[in-house]
């Protein structure tokens, strides 16, 4: 079952579709993911750059070392206590990550564990698990800037201030953490950026994506956030794409199944019909609905083949029937004669007659069997001919000599007009042909009639004609004249002629030499048989062996 076209086709289709759909899906996913991550990274980098700019004094809140009025960023819950806040900055030259409550001089000294805006503003950062990160710069001014450093509002607004996806930043100098804000876990120090690198992105702990940017004064600014939501989304996307792909695959296969089924339905029809056609039932043919497509053409070709097969079979059957029919008469003779002889005591003379009869008839059967065998060999393409050079004129003359008595008996005159012609072929077989033609010409002739034989060279051929003044052949039978068992008079049994194989054999022999034999006839006036033999037939036919 699995060897059928349908299954093979569907298997290949499935494979192809799998490749195509998964290729497409993978590409899509890859592009989406890349685009998404790029987006995230750009955002983070942007935020980091903003921070860097702010540090450099280009953002709101100029760094104190540039002097000038300080403008504090407007911060939520802004109110009093700004001065105190100013003082709580990370000292860039001091170690960070100090959980000591130092540097919060002037601050309220609150140690509330609940993260709230005021502690943020002071630079105290909520630490996971409660508590605070301490880190307030000691130095006013620069410290203040650090302390005031916030992520861009847009970023914060989009992702929330707190919680898992909230953005955070950290600023490093060398291996010293100067400032942290909102970090969910300890940020490892980033490696320094290369000379050509403007920024770098790294991903930590699976979901934390961080952009690293060069800040002023050899600081490295890290801005990051947890991208677990986006990653989760991408994962879901994989699932969706996979499911969709599978769905498409299934749909396509189902569709393909039906299409193929329809397309090869005619094949089943052809198969079924062809199977039912056997030697006993050769007349069935395949129904062709349309002959335009390939299957229609196939059916047409098959039908033609069956026609030819049927023809061949019928020919064979006819031949066998004719052959056995021909043998019936001689066999009946032998049986009748011998049965009669056996019934009672007979005289020697009577026995002799019986034996003579059997002998004559037996020879007739031999001739018939030989003829049939020759024809069978011709059919099988197995006719072996010996090749030798001989003078065809001489051969014809000899033939005529042998049949002179028969001619005289019938009162038929033989006239010869022969040019010496050398021919290469099988002399014994050619004798058969000439003898057959001449015998027919004599037998189917009239009293006082004549037979004329001419032989001449025409180009590369030797042309022999045998013309008789006999009864002729009816026009409707002319095309059958060389058929097996065709006889001028259907009742003529083997007694005075052959079995009707003579001309069939003659044609077979002539054609095996690469020649042609034709017949023209006018009823009641006579017939002319023309034989063209290539003089050098060694070149042409495949079954001549050199003697």
């Amino acid at each position: 079952m699995f060897k059928s076209i349908r299954w093979t086709f569907l298997a290949w289709l499935a494979l192809l579709l799998c490749l195509v759909v998964s290729g497409y899906g993978a590409t899509l996913f890859y592009l989406l993911r890349r685009s998404k991550l790029q987006e995230i990274d750009a955002e983070l980098e942007g935020a980091a750059q903003v921070l860097a700019e702010r540090l450099r004094g280009r953002g709101p809140g100029r760094p104190p070392w540039m002097g000038g009025p300080r403008r504090l960023p407007r911060l939520p819950g802004d109110g009093s206590g700004g001065d105190e806040r100013r003082r709580s900055f990370l000292d860039p030259f001091e170690r960070g990550r100090d959980s000591r409550n130092s540097g919060s001089a002037g601050s309220s000294g609150e140690e509330s564990s609940a993260p709230d805006e005021s502690s943020r503003m002071r630079g105290r950062l909520p630490r996971r698990g409660g508590g605070w990160y301490r880190g307030a710069p000691r130095r006013p001014g620069f410290d203040r800037t650090f302390g005031e450093l916030e992520l861009p509002e847009s970023l914060v607004r989009r992702y929330g201030e707190e919680g898992a996806g909230a953005p955070y930043f950290a600023i490093w100098r060398g291996d010293r953490l100067i400032r942290e804000s909102n970090v969910p876990s300890a940020v490892p120090p980033p490696a320094a950026l290369g000379t050509s690198e403007v920024s770098r992105v790294r991903q930590r702990e699976g979901t934390l994506r961080e952009a690293i940017v060069q800040g002023p004064r050899e600081t490295l600014i890290v801005v990051g956030r947890s991208v677990h939501e986006e990653l989760a989304y991408l994962n879901r996307l994989v699932g969706v794409l996979f499911g969709a792909g599978l769905g498409i695959l299934v749909l396509a296969l189902v569709g393909g199944w039906f299409l193929v089924k329809r397309a090869i339905r005619p094949l089943h029809q052809i198969s079924a019909t062809a199977e039912s056609i056997s030697a006993a039932n050769l007349s069935r043919r395949i129904d062709i609905e349309s002959t335009e497509n390939e299957l229609g053409r196939l059916a047409g070709v098959l039908n033609t083949t069956f026609d030819r097969l049927q023809e061949a079979f019928e020919q064979q059957a006819r031949f066998t029937a004719d052959a056995s029919h021909e043998l019936r008469t001689p066999v009946s003779v032998i049986l009748a004669q011998t049965a009669m002889a056996r019934r009672r005591e007979r005289s020697v003379e009577e026995y002799r007659e019986v034996i003579d009869a059997c002998f004559v008839v037996g020879n007739r059967m031999k001739a018939l069997v030989d003829g049939l065998l020759t024809l069978a060999r011709t059919d099988a393409g197995d006719l072996r001919l010996e090749a030798c050079e001989f003078d065809l004129a001489q051969l014809v003359e000899d033939c005529a000599g042998m049949l002179e008595s028969l001619a005289a008996e019938r009162g038929v005159a033989l006239r010869l007009d022969l040019q010496p012609t050398t021919v290469t072929g099988d002399a014994d077989r050619v004798v058969q042909v000439v003898s057959n033609l001449l015998t027919n010409a004599i037998r189917y002739n009239r009293e006082g009639g004549h037979v004329r034989l001419t032989l001449e060279e025409r180009g590369a051929d030797a042309v022999l004609t045998v013309t008789d003044s006999g009864v002729g052949i009816p026009e409707e039978d002319l095309h059958r004249v060389f058929d097996r068992f065709y006889r001028g008079d259907p009742a003529r049994s083997g007694k005075c002629g052959g079995a009707g194989l003579g001309l069939a054999i003659s044609r077979a022999v002539v054609e095996a030499h690469g020649g042609t034999i034709t017949c023209e006839s006018v009823r009641r006036e006579g017939s002319t048989f023309t034989v063209r033999l290539p003089r050098n037939s060694v070149e042409s036919p495949p079954n001549l062996n050199s003697a």
Binding site: T329, A336, Q337, A339, M340
Partner: protein
């Protein structure tokens, strides 16, 4: 009994003719259709053995023509063996169909059957008084003992027995007991009748003066 054989193959015709003559039949022969038709319509035969593939006129055509005027039993003896051919032959008016090559004994038996049937004496054995005639073996028994009869004598007895109760004229006897090659001798019939009476008893054959002979029922 007189039989016409229409067959063109000379060796076969010869063998059949001889065999039939050995069986006591008077045999006429024809080797083409026209001749066969002519003879069949000119003389009375007890049976005709007819080949189909004949030169001149085809055997079936001869049969068709014959049946317009004669009811002679015809046995077709032919090489045409197909079912179609057999049916066609029988439907044309033949009484039997035998395919070549055939068994000689079968031919003779079928011929006997045809003649019995057409004479209205279906029993192969006929009993007349204490005389028993076995047509199959061509023997005659009187009171259980076999009586030696010559071929002619037997033929005569058989013919009269086949037509028992009917007067058989001398002409008819000549016609049926001699073939065309026999020279008819007027004495022949009386001599044979007399010989038969000697062997089987006077009462077996009745003479109808001026008409012919008869075996009574």
């Amino acid at each position: 009994m007189r039989v016409l054989l229409v067959e063109d193959e000379p060796y076969l015709s010869q063998a059949l003719r001889k065999s039939l003559r050995d069986e006591g039949y008077a045999v006429d022969v024809a080797d083409d259709g026209e001749e066969g038709l002519y003879k069949a319509t000119t003389w009375e035969y007890d049976a005709i053995v007819l080949d189909i593939m004949l030169p001149g006129r085809n055997g079936l055509s001869v049969l068709g023509e014959l049946r317009r005027s004669r009811s002679t039993p015809v046995l077709l003896l032919t090489a045409k063996d197909s079912l179609k051919d057999r049916v066609a032959g029988l439907d044309q008016g033949a009484d039997d169909y035998l395919v070549k090559p055939f068994d000689l004994e079968e031919l003779l038996a079928r011929l006997r059957a045809l003649i019995r049937r057409s004479a209205g004496e279906p029993n192969p054995t006929m009993e007349i008084g204490d005389v028993t005639i076995d047509t199959a073996s061509r023997t005659v028994r009187k009171a259980g003992t076999e009586v030696a009869l010559t071929a002619r004598e037997y033929s005569l007895v058989e013919m009269l027995a086949m037509n028992r109760g009917k007067v058989v004229t001398r002409t008819m006897l000549y016609e049926h007991l001699c073939d065309e090659n026999d020279n008819s001798l007027s004495k022949v019939v009386e001599v044979h009748v007399s010989n038969v009476r000697k062997k089987l008893g006077k009462e077996i054959i009745t003479t109808r003066r001026g008409h012919g002979y008869m075996i009574s029922v």
